[in-house]
Amino acid sequence: MTPVHATTGQRQPIDADPVLKLEGITKRFPGVVALNQVDFDVRPGEVHALLGENGAGKSTLMKVLAGKHQANEGRIILGGEEMAFENPKHAKRAGVVLIHQEQSLVPGMTVAENIFLGSLPKKWGNRVDWRKLREDTNRILETLKCSFQHDDLVGSLSIAKKQMVEIGRALVFTPRVVVFDEPTASLTDHEKPVLYDVIQSLCEQGVGIVYISHRMDEIFHLSHRISVLRDGEYTGTVNTCETNEDEVTRMMIGRSLELDHASKPSEFGENMLELRNLSVKRLFSDVSFNVRKGEIVGMYGLVGAGRSEVAETIFGLRSPSAGEILLDGQPVSFTTSHDAVAAGIALVPEDRKDQGLILGMNCRDNMTLAGLESVSTLGFMKRADERAVYDKYHQAMKIKTPSWRQKVGNLSGGNQQKIVIGKWLHTHPKLLILDEPTRGIDVGSKAEIHALVKELAKSGYAVLVISSEMPEVLGLSNRIIAMYDGRVTAEFDGDSVSEDALVQAITGMGASAAAATTA
């Protein structure tokens, strides 16, 4: 286990010429500057942690590095040579490998076939050289100290082992730089040390490691240096042994948060939602909190802390193994989302494109999707009413589309999200649950959506906001529920809570502290 209260790392910076250097990288997407003049370098044998809030540009930077995106400006210098990677394969051959957060393995193939996918060793006549494949795979598995065999089916492996296979892929071409993007997000605590060992042994072979993570304890445990991005800008690099969590946090959040406490809702009614010791096996347990009418409650925690699962349980998509849900004072238990919608619950899901929208449908049809009954008689739609509903929310939320006929797949993230919210407002819910309402949305639309959420609460909606972004949670919430590892670790007042306390509560450090005070 890592020392939980380590505030400074022990690792001295490695003094060597960088193996990889990024200079003045700028990447623009339509309407957004994702990266602005970012510098970054990695030395051989070092772990260089890259930090930043969601949307700060970490992933974009790494995609530029791995050849998935091409930078508009700037240079990539690998081993003294300027490179222009056209695609990930090109970058991989040059020795830059990205290990994804989402795994991209073929479950029905063996470990060996997955590791060498697309680069199987061949004999004459284009036949697969199975012997060489086996030997090469065994060599890689040995380096990684893996407990599984080259001929195991990937589909039968645990998530941690799958990740090892993914890392094994990186070792096919002698890598010079390996990028880990939130590698521990799906790992349990006792699986993490294995990953750390692998990273350590890669370092010893002189590979440069870029390590992206939200978890401070991991970063201070592993890294030699830490660089921080904020809103697509490079804010600086520090040696891990010379800094502490406070400094790094300040670098990440940096700007004054401009907390507009005054505009938060302030008049609350009775309890709209109350959870009593709600549990779902293996996902979360003993979750209790309440949301009042006119109140915004923020649910803050890391990815995988169980926040979305709580929301899905309230919404009837999962059935609780213990505990109670009370809506408007009445105990409820929904078996389908249809019942939940009928009872007045609305869920704006985490993943707009996969869960929130029918991308091939137009704006109007998406808007009325959850409330067709109110715009139809005897099953037949009343087109004029439907248009009226669309026009109402289109104007109220300032959605920018050329016409209602526009396919929602062609809209920007902010406008897509407004359509999802509009869809739910049309059902006149009592409780509005927003899961990561502004993920992947540009700054301007973000502010608009925040203002909208506050307006909604003031007009009487009970609102539950789930977010991984601290400024969002602080800027919106009257109260904040912190979750870590499937449990509520603390409840804070939204106006007076300190950022430190919040960070502690969601990284598990607060849990031990709280336990200490109660004991």
Binding site: P30, F315, S337, V341, G360, D365, L372, Q406, L411
Partner: protein, 319 residues
């Protein structure tokens, strides 16, 4: 080139299949002196009505993200029941035939919904099993209708227009309206387009799936009854390969196998395309085997064109 693309993409009023239907219509009008006559055109409608009726239901099921391979077998069973049960009265026989189709559709839908097994597999099993039931019921015998009213119905006309053609066109109109104007139609698209988002919007996925399987079962049975009345008989092998023709027609009409896209207007085009090609080539005395080759080639060509036209635009409207 650009203008054609813009023409098809801007408003989906004219679908590629209709351009094709009009083109072959004009082509055969010049190639055969018999083609362009009221009797031949109504003849095409009667010939296509069997496949056409099933295709209406199949369009729903496919937009919904499923498929039904058992329609040919359902057609065969319904035809046998409609003739075989005539001893109990014509009305009862027809009601029983239609009910059998709806019941089998409901079972298909229920199994797909409750087990989550792919509709392709479920209905493939149903196709084999139902065909077996037909043989069990008929004892491998063909049935002949002794009821002349039944046999006459298939050949009757209202004015110059055959009743079968009228039934087909009426059903097409109704199915088009239900698909475009009702909540069920809208939700059918939604479920096929993105099942997860549909669940999140509180749509009862299973119900819509089941209704659509019942609809296609009903139309397959209706097609069976009408086909039996046309022939005045039912054979145990009636309806073989019909599922393939139906799916061909629906896909020609622009409905996607993956679900979420499609239209009844397109399906009507697909059905007519097949009907006109068969009829026209017949009139030109092209041997029947060549007709199959041509149809196969056209199916693939149309889908390639469709794919080219529907390449997602790189210039997304981002505002």
């Amino acid at each position: 080139m650009i203008s054609i693309k813009g023409f098809f993409r801007g408003r989906t009023i004219i679908q590629p299949i209709w351009v094709f239907v009009i083109a072959i219509f004009i082509f055969f009008s010049f190639m055969s002196e018999y083609f362009l006559s009221l009797s031949n055109i109504t003849n095409i409608l009667v010939q296509t009505s069997t496949i056409g009726l099933i295709a209406l239901g199949m369009t729903y099921v496919m937009i919904n993200g499923n498929i039904d391979l058992s329609v040919g077998a359902i057609l065969g069973l319904a035809a046998s029941l409609a003739v075989g049960l005539q001893d109990y009265g014509l009305t009862i026989a027809i009601i029983a035939a239609l009910a059998s189709g709806m019941l089998l559709g409901a079972i298909n839908g229920l199994v797909v919904w409750k087990t989550g097994v792919n509709a392709f597999i479920v209905t493939l099993g149903a196709m084999l099993g139902i065909r077996g039931l037909i043989f069990l019921y008929t004892g491998e015998q063909s049935f002949y209708s002794m009821n002349f009213a039944f046999a006459d119905f298939g050949a009757s006309t209202i004015g110059p227009i055959p009743v079968l053609a009228i039934i087909f066109l009426l059903c097409t109109l109704v199915m088009h309206l239900v698909l475009t104007r009702t909540g069920h139609g809208r939700n059918t698209f939604a479920v096929g387009g993105n099942p997860e988002a549909s669940i999140d919007a509180g749509i009862r996925l299973g119900r819509h799936m089941m209704i659509n399987f019942i609809i296609v079962g009903f139309f397959a049975a209706l097609a069976g009854v009408l086909l039996a009345s046309q022939m005045g008989a039912a054979t145990p092998n009636l309806g073989r390969d019909y599922e393939l023709w139906t799916i061909t027609a629906v896909v020609l009409g622009g409905t996607k196998l993956t679900g979420g896209y499609g239209s009844i207007v397109g399906t009507l085009g697909g059905v007519l395309a097949i009907g006109i090609l068969r009829n026209g080539m017949n009139l030109m005395q092209v041997p029947a085997f060549y007709v199959l080759v041509v149809l196969g080639l056209i199916l693939i060509t149309v889908l390639i064109i469709d794919k080219k036209l529907n390449v997602p635009s790189t210039k997304e409207v981002r505002i």
